[in-house]
Symmetry: C2
Subunit: 230 residues, 2 copies
């Protein structure tokens, strides 16, 4: 379904092993010590390779982060498959999918802030609007297209076209909120998800009201602007 890396995959079996060892070591160390405190030297040592070899597989420490994103994305996709097969109400699908994002990412909450930061940085080659992250971005947008298409909601064509991109942006907003959430069981984020998904579906239902026609056109134009900028 997806390539698990941005850079070229290894050509040999040995390379495959090394690459996986480096990523596994990085993930373990991020969990143990956090992102900043994990040095590339420590990653290499735990993976049983030299520092130089690490850079053969990952062009930078940030590239390990992008790989991490792919990793969580795949966990997420697997987690939501049953829901998407079973449920056809748009609000329920959306709520389930977005809740699954934060449930999937929960084990990584402690270092998610550092990671999100490096990726949100517009100067980073890995930022979500940039070239290197395009494959992942497209896949997430496609995921949301499936969430919408597989629902029984009947949406105007102009909205249906832009909605997946909008939902991708929305998901990033939720993740940003979640990073700051220190509440027990992350209940505040879950609450925000429930409220916002309801709100989104409700507003979609209202989009045909005459008073909102103008706003709707404007909102869609904006989303197109943002998508085009990316």
């Amino acid at each position: 379904m997806s390539i698990s890396s941005v850079t070229e995959p290894p050509k040999t079996k040995r390379g495959e092993t090394s690459r996986a060892a480096i990523f596994d070591a990085a993930l373990a160390l991020f969990l143990e010590r956090g992102y900043e405190a994990t040095t590339m030297r420590a990653i290499a040592e735990r993976a049983g390779v030299s520092l130089g070899s690490s850079y053969h597989y990952f062009a930078s420490k940030e590239h390990l982060v992008l790989e991490f994103y792919w990793h969580t994305h795949q966990l997420h996709v697997a987690a939501i498959a049953p829901l998407l097969a079973r449920e056809h109400d748009l609000a329920a699908r959306l709520r389930g999918v977005v809740r699954a994002v934060i449930v999937t990412c929960e084990p990584f909450h402690a270092f998610a802030g550092a990671i999100f930061g490096t990726v949100a940085n517009p100067a980073s080659p890995l930022n979500p609007f940039g070239r290197e992250a395009k494959a992942l971005r497209d896949e997430v947008i496609e995921l949301y297209a499936g969430v919408v298409k597989g629902s029984d909601a009947r949406l105007p064509a102009d909205i249906a076209t832009e909605l997946p991109t909008l939902l991708w942006l929305y998901q990033m907003g939720i993740l940003y909120f979640w990073i700051f959430d220190r509440s027990q069981g992350r209940l505040r984020t879950l609450d925000v998800i429930d409220q916002t998904t309801d709100l989104i579906v409700r507003l979609l239902g209202l989009a045909n009201l005459p008073v909102l026609r103008g706003s709707r056109k404007r909102v869609l134009g904006l989303v197109r602007s943002i998508a085009a900028g990316a």
Copy 2:
């Protein structure tokens, strides 16, 4: 009106001079070479102080960025004073104020991406929701409170309370868009500002419609959540 720094201001006249020299050198070098390419050593050298001395005034390179934010904020405040004194239509005030943000920041566009990135990073002590940026955040929110209060718009109390915070968030969104905008004369950003400010004021006018009552409550609850999280 505001202290121009986060850290303690220098105690002596000599210190004042050094601090200003360091910031001026940093700003000049950021403009010449960008943020990443500007080294702390180069800043110190141009300022005529040692590397160690620079760290006496600015705890990190990022703290120079926060100072830079204060700098642009003050330029912005000065730029909008005439408009706020003259104009009382909410949409016009809002549009003018937000346009002024990006006009003020335009000279720094080339390195704004790198700077925004460091500050948006949730792990950074300087990120807009954090402790060290609180003074600046409060001042910007206060600025938007003035934009609303000085207008002739009559808003429900619950909305009037949360709107300034919402507008502060909105301004950050616009800045993020602007960073990516490569269009001639930054026309795309200006267009987005015109459209969104209109949209905001229009939705404020519709907030009392019965169909939107529920959504309004929800949106306000969300804004409160986000504000409380910060």
